[in-house]
Amino acid sequence: MGRYLLRRLLQLIPVFIGTTFFIFVLVWAVPGDPFAGKCGDRRCPDAYVDFMTDKYKLDQNIFVQYGSYMKNLLQGDFGETFGGRSINEIVVNAYPNTLKLALVALAVEALIGLTAGVLTGLKRNGFLDNLVLVSTLFLIALPTFVTGFVLQWLLGVKWGIAPVTVSSDVSFTELLVPGFVLGSTSMAYIARLARTSIAENRRGDYVRTAIAKGLPMRRVVGVHLLRNSMIPVITFLGTDLGALMGGSVVTEGIFNINGIGREVFRAIITKEGATVVSIVVILVLVYLLMNLLIDLLYAALDPRIRYE
């Protein structure tokens, strides 16, 4: 177990370097002068251009640029924007909000999606099953901005039962509706995944054995069936955290949440390469760590899987 973990962590290094370098190249290869429009209508003063060029090694090749960037990064320094704002500050302000939003979305999709999936998996072709099938299809088909604007208008403006936008405190209750919007597509997938998994496992021999032992139905389903059926669902949930964080830009825009989605969006428009890279690099790290966590969890849920 310890050796496995060490090996997996070591494996993360080349993956991390590879993905971040790729992003770095993509971002800095965006055509256009990074100084364009940075200093109002005039050209930027030479002193400023020289300073920034030196700081980001803009006159060197991309490898040197990347190396210098990573060196700073490892020392906890994300650098500055061209406007002189500390990127660390942007990251520290924006990331917790997006993380909160993604966690709420994850909780919502797990709770609603799982409940719907388990209930329909146990009793297929009933009214509830059809309802869930149709509504999940709906959620999968609808783009997030449609769900977002519709719910914002309906719950926030028309009925007034939820805040229209999220305040700067970003409390968890305020995030319920945005979380639902962000998690809605995954929720639909989880409902379907759980439904299929439960329906498949329900016919399993070991479920029959559990019934034949005279266990109450509650226990047969809640312990024997659920534990086996949850394995694919948990895997999905784990990998979804990164996807939710990365995909939060639309939701953050609609509900005016100051998160990484909006920062990345802004940074791309203003050609703030360093900001984009910094935010994405952390996202990559989240993905990689969640993946590792899922693999560990997977083995904990299914003892037949061994760490090798």
Binding site: D205, T209, A210, K213, P216, R219
Partner: protein, 347 residues
């Protein structure tokens, strides 16, 4: 032997009337069908058998004859849908389990009637330890504490002769060998000291040497605990040593029922005769194995009259028209053949 008594079967309680008979477990004119896309498969067409305390009934028949489905119906683990019980009764201590409340029926499982399955690997839950799955019954059904349940479970593992039972308590099913797994399955099924044990081909998935060990263990436990044992198998060789009575199934019916020795000596149905002839004998080494020609009938479309007639070497015109009822053939035996007497008295 022409004075063999032929009469309609009229044992009390075994006539579909539901009158109590004092028997431990009796299946009475059971009918089950599977409603599938291809049509309605009539899988069980009036099965009647019983088992009493301390007695072993072997249920014999080709693959697909409905042995497992009958057992599943007794246990209440039939896949519904597509499977539906369309008639008959399953009485435990005289009470019909098919009409009692779900809760009442649940209490009989494990404690009154328990079952072991053919493939212990898939029948045990892969994600829980063997110990957990045995102890669970003591905790949930008997309300024991965790530590008491564990102690009792280790005793059960000892009982089925699993070496180092204490150490194996926390092992997962996939960490056991096939034979050990089936032993664990037996331990699990006997945990609540059931009155009847149904063993559905308990040794088919195992190596030949292990098969014998498991059968010996089962027979020994059955004797010690005076259980009623329903042993489902298509292996005639196993049956002779352990069974008291044999019920032979064909196309969802009992075609012959008799004491083991009677049946082996003088089978009363051409199908049984065919089965017996298909066992290779030591003195026939090298000779071609005699098998029953033809295939079992499609249950979507069971032949008219006697369902065995397309394969029967003794078939007569009447066989294609009239369904032979299961008739008492004197003594303790019964056969569902129009010419049962002739079969018994052949040679």
């Amino acid at each position: 032997m022409s004075d063999i008594l032929v009469s309609e079967r009229s044992e009390p309680g075994a006539d579909g009337s539901g009158r109590p008979s004092g028997r431990l477990l009796e299946v009475d004119d059971l009918r089950v069908e599977f409603r599938t896309r291809d049509g309605v498969a009539k899988v069980i067409n009036g099965v009647t058998y019983h088992v009493d305390a301390g007695e072993t009934l072997a249920v014999l028949g080709e693959s697909g004859s409905g042995k497992s489905v009958t057992a599943q119906t007794i246990m209440g683990i039939l896949d519904t849908p597509p499977g539906f019980v369309t008639g008959g009764q399953v009485r435990f201590h005289g009470k019909d389990m098919l009409t009692m409340s779900a809760e009442e029926r649940r209490r009989i499982r494990g404690e009154g009637i328990a079952m072991i399955f053919q493939d212990a690997l898939s029948a045990l839950n892969p994600v829980f330890t063997v110990g957990f799955q045995i102890a669970e019954q003591f905790r949930i059904r008997r309300g024991m504490s965790r530590s008491d349940a564990k102690k009792r479970s280790i005793e059960m593992l000892d009982l089925v002769k699993i070496p180092n039972a204490k150490g194996r308590f926390n092992a997962y099913p996939h960490q056991f060998s096939g034979g050990m797994r089936q032993r664990a399955m037996i331990a699990m099924s006997l945990a609540l000291d059931p009155e009847v044990l149904i063993a559905d081909e308990p040794t088919t998935a195992l190596d030949v040497t292990v098969q014998a060990q498991i059968m010996d263990l089962l027979a020994e436990l059955q004797r010690e605990r005076q259980m009623g044992l329903i042993l489902i198998t298509h292996d005639l060789g196993v049956v002779a040593d352990v069974a008291d009575r044999i019920a032979v199934m064909y196309a969802g019916r009992i075609v012959e029922e008799a004491d083991v020795h009677e049946l082996y000596e003088k089978p009363g149905h051409p199908y049984t005769l065919g089965l017996l002839n298909s066992i290779p004998r030591i003195d026939e080494k090298g000779q071609q194995l005699r098998t029953i020609k033809g295939l079992p009938p499609s249950l979507l479309n069971i032949p008219s009259g006697c369902p065995f007639h397309p394969r029967c070497p003794m078939v007569q015109p009447v066989c294609r028209e009239k369904v032979p009822p299961l008739l008492q053939l004197g003594g303790t035996r019964a056969s569902a053949c129009h010419f049962a007497e002739e079969v018994v008295n052949r040679d």
